[in-house]
Subunit: 178 residues, 2 copies
């Protein structure tokens, strides 16, 4: 619900530019957070104006300047306050399920194709997550300890994708024996 705070969590660990954040979201949080670059720049601008972030411009050769942001004490406080809040469960709005709910209005082949397409994406996703997990499990104990919280979120990604694929098997079985 709050991209602002997701950005704060990332910047707390290490300062970075909008572009850096985009990559960090994709690399480390892809299975539970998604944001476009436009939105990241908008939120950075807002937080900068609100005094949560400090910006410094790093000139580069042959590339546009990098605008590196880091937390101010106010930004740190805003993050801690948010982390202490009581959270609500996520709102789920899954259009694939709406589309399936209305399956009687569709051609079965169309549904099968849609499921197959999504399955491919989920399978690729699962492979990527499992390989990240192998990488984590190969780390020495001390390193594992450092990344224990991100690892828990990775496990969520894995269990989540596997549950989707199990469900997809059920759907396929259903479509094939109506």
């Amino acid at each position: 619900m709050s991209l602002k705070h997701a950005i704060l969590v990332l910047l707390e660990t290490e300062p970075g530019s909008g572009y850096d954040l985009l990559k960090r979201f994709r690399e480390h949080m892809g299975y539970f957070w998604n944001a476009s670059h436009q939105q990241i720049y908008q939120q950075l601008k807002w937080m900068h104006e609100a005094g949560w972030l400090e910006a410094s411009t790093e000139p580069q050769q042959g590339k546009p300047d990098r605008k590196v942001y880091e937390l101010t004490p106010q930004g740190h406080e805003a993050l801690l306050a948010w982390l202490a809040e009581t959270s609500k469960p996520e709102k789920i709005n899954d259009s694939l399920l709406v589309r399936l709910y209305g399956g009687h209005l569709r051609d079965t082949e169309n549904i099968r194709a849609e499921m197959a397409h999504h399955r491919t994406l989920y399978e690729q996703n699962r492979a990527a997550l499992l390989s990240i997990e192998q990488h984590y499990l190969a780390l020495p104990k001390a390193e594992q300890q450092r990344y224990r919280f991100p690892y828990l979120t990775l496990r969520r990604g894995i269990l989540s994708v596997e549950a989707w694929l199990d469900w997809a098997d059920e759907v396929d079985a259903f479509l094939n024996h109506p």
Copy 2:
């Protein structure tokens, strides 16, 4: 991503008022779609103006008038066109995971309490879904056939909640043996 089309799916089966739709979302689609009454009224207004819906006012005694909507041929067409579109996987933005990712900035007790709170909600949810499933499985074959697509979405809800609870067990084990 499209409340408009979720509403169209519901109204295609049976005409209804904004208030009816709110209840239908809660009763039949709660595990994959959520909308507030304000938003439903806004979208109904938009779709009425766009010619997707026709409205008729039913006066009632001692209660405000009901404004019942049903699909126009254009609305039907819009729905079929949407169902035929290629869909993208849902965007996931799960703030609980952002909060856990930043767990090193938090008190462990605080995390445990948050997890326990969410667990209670998910367990209640699971119980509700399993009871709906029992009800479905007790129906005669012909009725089961009629509700086969909604049943598939129900299965998604069940597998999804169970996967969350499995993950919560892992998190608890982790927090207790750090």
